[in-house]
């Protein structure tokens, strides 16, 4: 004979939901308040530069080859010492990512031999026209650090012959 327990069980259920009313809401008021993303968050791609202002991307198109969604298009051209974009022989004269195709898997990041392409923190990627879905190199690349001349730079001959830098163990 259980008379009180079933009623108490119902009341316990009600009390549980009622108690939740005093909890602080977990809501984040999005456009005004933004939650910082996690260190390994995969947002919009960023093309990195070296400290001296040269682009890390050498136009090898390994990212395009690794891309499972075929979202990346790379066209490379020759560097010279007078017109130098990146170390080594070649640079990416065109670098486009179709954001409608990209699935943010990060394979491009893994494939890159120079750590030039990185999936960054930016996640507000809405656009109103499908033509705007193609992000050209100018949108993706990091700005030149202050006090450093922008690419193309004029460099001394024989200084930037190595296109892939010496790598350390990867960090987040």
């Amino acid at each position: 004979m259980r008379v009180v327990e079933p009623v108490v069980e119902l009341a316990r259920g009600l009390w549980t939901t009622f108690r939740m009313m005093v909890d602080k809401p977990v809501t984040i008021q999005y456009p005004e308040q933004k939650k910082p993303v996690k260190p390994r968050f995969r947002g919009r791609h960023v093309l990195k530069r070296y400290d001296n202002g040269l682009e890390k991307c050498i136009g090898c198109a390994l990212c395009a080859a690794a891309c499972p969604a075929d979202a990346i298009f790379v066209e490379s051209s020759e560097n010279t010492d007078e017109v130098r974009y990146s170390p080594g022989d070649r640079y990416a004269s065109t670098y486009e990512i179709n954001m409608l195709r990209c699935i943010f898997c990060g394979f491009c990041e893994d494939a890159c031999p120079t750590e030039a392409i990185v999936l960054g923190d930016q996640y507000e990627l809405s656009f109103t026209d499908r033509r705007q879905s193609i992000y050209p190199k100018e949108m993706l690349i990091d700005p030149v650090p202050e006090g450093i001349s922008p690419t193309p730079q004029k460099t001394r001959p024989g200084e930037f012959t190595r296109s892939v830098p010496e790598m350390k163990d990867p960090v987040d």
Binding site: V3, E5, P6, F18, M20, M21, Q29
Partner: protein
């Protein structure tokens, strides 16, 4: 029948209809806010401060939405069904008094629209008209889900209407009248100078049955079978859009307000409260507060309990609530006869005690049935 009386009726009817329709709009906001708080969310807060303009935004959106009528639907009934659903929901509260009568500028003002001597009967009959709207909406949509939703709702409403009516009967017996004003005045006064003479204390189990049966009557969770999303897409209003959908939605929420107002009147003392005799304007305030609390109860139950299975819903209505409410009518009648026979009102105290005893037996029996292994498998 003079001009002033007609004017008074017009104004009161207009005001009450506005209160119901505005109340419907803000009940949606109230529900969304309360549910959000229970679920650790904030709820609508963009349209105006604290989201108070949200109902207006919803209304504008629904008005400008495209009205779709299915090609093979029965067009006349399809259009008429929302109207049939809304009208009873709005007129059902006409008999609910929302304050004591008082004199203002030498004019005797009564705070109710109609004073019918069979008020409770009126409520029951009007409430059962609403089911036609839902059944017709389901049938005329020419859609199997809508049809099943409509059928379910008719079966459910008819089943629970009996329990609802019988729980009213104990209140009628205690008040000795079907007039809503008599029921309210029977609940005025205090025992031992501080316990209000509300029927919820004389007939707690009857009140519980009333509250459960009303949830089923207005198709609210956990008895929202007719619109069980997981099984029937949206039930009887699957094919409705735009303003027709808004009317069905309005009927549901207006019925919630109406049924809360009726419950507050019949079991929770209506407009009675401290100092209501000296200050008549407190009456509407008290009944408003009681309605708000009962509505919160409905929202709270929705946030807590999962939807129960359809066969168990019917079993609960017919095998538990109906016999239990019949027993309560018997107990109430016996208690009243004893109190009258021995001319000792304190004998009324056996009504709540015997009711709770019977309810305890019912709970124990339900519990035993639910624990039987073959029942769980079924």
């Amino acid at each position: 029948m003079n001009f002033l009386l007609v004017l008074e009726w017009l104004i009161k009817g207009f005001v009450w209809a506005l209160v119901l329709l505005g109340g419907f709009a803000y009940l949606t906001l109230y529900e969304r806010k309360a549910l959000a708080r229970i679920q650790s969310r904030v709820g609508p807060n963009r349209a105006g401060p604290w989201g108070i303009l949200q109902p207006i935004a919803d209304a504008v959106k629904l008005i400008f939405k495209e009205e779709l009528t299915p090609a093979k639907a029965d067009k006349v009934i399809f259009t008429l069904a929302p109207v049939i659903t809304v009208v009873p929901a709005v007129i059902i509260t006409a008999v609910v008094p929302w304050g004591p009568s008082f004199n203002i500028f030498g004019y005797h003002l009564t705070l109710y629209i109609a004073d019918i001597n069979v008020g409770v009967l009126y409520i029951m009959s009007v409430a059962s008209i609403a089911v036609y709207g839902i059944v017709l909406a389901g049938w005329s949509s020419n859609n199997k889900y809508a049809m099943m939703g409509g059928l379910r709702s008719s079966a459910q409403m008819i089943s629970y209407e009996i329990a609802l009516g019988l729980s009213f009967v104990s209140a009628i017996l205690l008040a000795g009248s079907m007039r809503m004003l008599d029921i309210v005045s029977a609940q005025s006064g205090y025992w031992f100078h501080f316990i209000p003479k509300w029927f919820v204390l004389l007939q707690p189990v009857g009140t519980a049955i009333f509250l459960i049966a009303t949830l089923a009557e207005v198709n609210r969770a956990p008895f929202d079978m007719p619109e069980a999303e997981q099984e029937l897409t949206a039930g009887y209003h699957t094919e409705y859009s735009g303003m027709k959908f808004a009317l069905l939605f309005m009927a549901e929420y207006t019925k919630m307000i109406a049924i809360s107002a009726i419950g507050a009147t019949v079991f929770f003392g209506g407009f009675n409260g401290p100092f209501v005799d000296q200050y008549p304007w407190l009456g509407p305030v008290y009944i408003f507060v009681k309605i708000i609390i009962l509505l919160f109860g409905m929202i709270w139950v929705r946030a807590t309990f999962p939807r129960i299975r359809y066969d168990r819903l019917m079993a609960f209505g017919w095998k538990v609530l109906l016999p239990l409410s019949l027993a309560l009518v018997f107990i109430t009648a016996v208690g009243i006869i004893l109190a009258q026979h021995y001319e000792n009102p304190s004998l009324l105290g056996i009504i709540p005690m015997a009711s709770l005893l019977v309810a305890g037996v019912a709970v124990a029996m339900i519990d035993r049935t639910l624990r039987r292994k073959d029942y769980a498998r079924r």
